[in-house]
Symmetry: C2
Subunit: 224 residues, 2 copies
């Protein structure tokens, strides 16, 4: 579980990052708009300055699976870079977002001259592969309740800010989105979240989760 992504480009010199970003053009995407969709040719990679991007996979039957979210200073659209394949997934802005898009060719050339960055990219890809692998195992071997607990714990560890015992999750998430992350239905997610609330494990304020007791949450893992 929980191999955290080397999310920030902190490992990059400010200088290197500036060169990279100068290769692209910046633009704004209002909440809800798609940066790219499945089937399109993948001719750009993206660097997210501000906002939040949802990377998801849509089945022909219309079933959405959220693979992960990208936050500030993360890159996305990397999977298609080398060959310019069609996009396999969609990228949608969950909030108003500011993004630099870098043409594939320029990015590739950049990588050749900056092997350090190429390494970072491999690292990001590897890390995301692990996440997907973990998701698969969860999906197969855990029931919905456990999956939800693990999701909340993971989100807390990765994106939460601690205030005393309470962990604030400053991510606006609907029950539908939560359901799509763990492969269940909206109704089931609602029911379980309701239970957790009643047990004093968490509360939700304007679609933002507050983990009241990480301990209790952990406890749910032991006795299924």
């Amino acid at each position: 579980m929980g191999s955290i992504e080397p999310s920030c480009f902190s490992q990059l010199d400010k200088q290197e990052l500036d060169i990279l970003l100068s290769l692209g053009t910046s633009s704004r995407y209002p909440k809800g708009t798609f940066i790219f969709s499945p089937g399109e040719a993948g001719q750009h990679v993206f660097f997210l300055h501000k906002g939040r991007i949802k990377i998801s996979n849509l089945s022909p039957a219309g079933h959405e699976v959220i693979l992960w979210f990208c936050f500030s200073c993360e890159m996305f659209g990397l999977s298609e870079i080398t060959r310019g394949n069609d996009r396999a997934v969609s990228a949608q802005a969950c909030e108003d977002s500011e993004v630099t898009s870098i043409p594939r060719e320029l990015f590739n050339t950049f990588l050749i001259h900056h092997p350090k960055v190429a390494f970072l990219i491999m690292q990001i890809l590897s890390c995301r592969m692990r996440v997907l692998g973990d998701m698969l195992v969860n999906l197969v071997s855990d029931n919905v309740n456990t999956r939800l607990v693990k999701l909340i714990l993971r989100l807390g560890a990765q994106y939460g800010t601690r205030e005393g015992k309470v962990i604030h999750l400053d991510i606006h998430l609907t029950h539908q989105e939560i359901a799509d992350m763990i492969g269940t239905t909206r109704q089931t997610a609602t029911t379980l979240l309701g239970q957790f609330k009643r047990q004093g494990i968490l509360s939700i304020d304007n679609r933002r989760i507050l983990i009241e007791s990480e301990e209790l949450l952990h406890g749910l893992l032991k006795t299924p």
Copy 2:
């Protein structure tokens, strides 16, 4: 569906490949032995000359999920290269296999001087990410029957050899392994495979699948 992996190192000059392989040492792994297991430090990458390697993820509860198989001329153990992380998955020889293992550090240095290969690695990682993404969607949105059909079709397209209407799948697979690839139980896999046999869709000879009628198989996708 079905983005096929650039499996072979055909895109590499024979020369480049020779240099790469000279960095490592070759050894044999008898059927059943593990090349690496979860939790170990990932200090090598591997090139498979001959045999078949099963890459899988094991849940704490003991539930195995097979992520993919590696065949001749494919590499594996790539996910941990950049940082030397612990292995997240296990690699087990399904047949007697011959493998060259290349120390991480040497491989990394090699990559810096051969950006073309670095690109190839990214491509492989990207491709495997897609496969995992597809697996996730399948798992969530399809029932077991459909998942099995899709698996067989995919295996056929990827690894099958055509002889007239029949497609030979020269991969020795137990029902348990098939079940572990689509996230179901051995019993259910057995039952469904039995049905397919009775319908004349496929036959199994010494654990090797023969697709008798790809059409019929495809037909099962339309009417669930």
